[in-house]
Symmetry: C2
Subunit: 142 residues, 2 copies
Amino acid sequence: MKDGIEQYKRWLSRYAKLDLIYIKSGGDVNKLPKERILYNEAVKLIKYIRKNSFNILLDKSAKQLSSEAFSKFLNDIFMHSNKAEILFTIGGVHGVDNSLESKFDMKLSLSRMTFTHEFTVLILLEQLYRAFKIINNEKYHY
Amino acid sequence: MKDGIEQYKRWLSRYAKLDLIYIKSGGDVNKLPKERILYNEAVKLIKYIRKNSFNILLDKSAKQLSSEAFSKFLNDIFMHSNKAEILFTIGGVHGVDNSLESKFDMKLSLSRMTFTHEFTVLILLEQLYRAFKIINNEKYHY
């Protein structure tokens, strides 16, 4: 999985600057109460939710976009918004603290299904790569 | 990607017998007309769509299930149907020939987004693995 993530990071570097930031829960997620985990994560996460970012929370129950619509959506942000970057947030074991939800500009679902965090990263990177290919009218393999 | 597929195949072998069958289009998909490709693939695909299989066609526009619902759905087929196996079909570059659509028992979507075929296989295997973990009440990593 890690190899796949590294490969997409290399491929994506042609199109955009990409940072992958992993936030530690700061304790044993199997032992700490849910509220404590969400709070610990929220304290660390909030500093990445910036005013000049377009902040997207991945949420499996949210709206889904086709790959074409996703690429158009990204292009619109790059071309027509005053946002300098796009932040995609994947929640932790218990999701993201309620107090942060209003800070996001949008919720997006990649699938109704649940994936591991790493798998979700891989799917997101694949779709970002596909989106840049579509934006640039480049051929993509099937 | 291939390594990931192999790994999930190994993990899944604890729970079920799994065959991955790749059908060749029998020609250059960039040169042959769409109808010809669909026909070539259909002729090869049809023999795998058996009466004693529960035949599922993956289609990004179809109904989606949560991972929990997918696991319950698989369990119901195994426990309460007279089907000996489940076939998941991922269409080719142009999908699956219309003449075959009525042969499937169900259409299922993993996501509205488009993935490469190999990536779709990987996502499907991950969800099958997760489904068996859920069915067997086993812990799954996040």
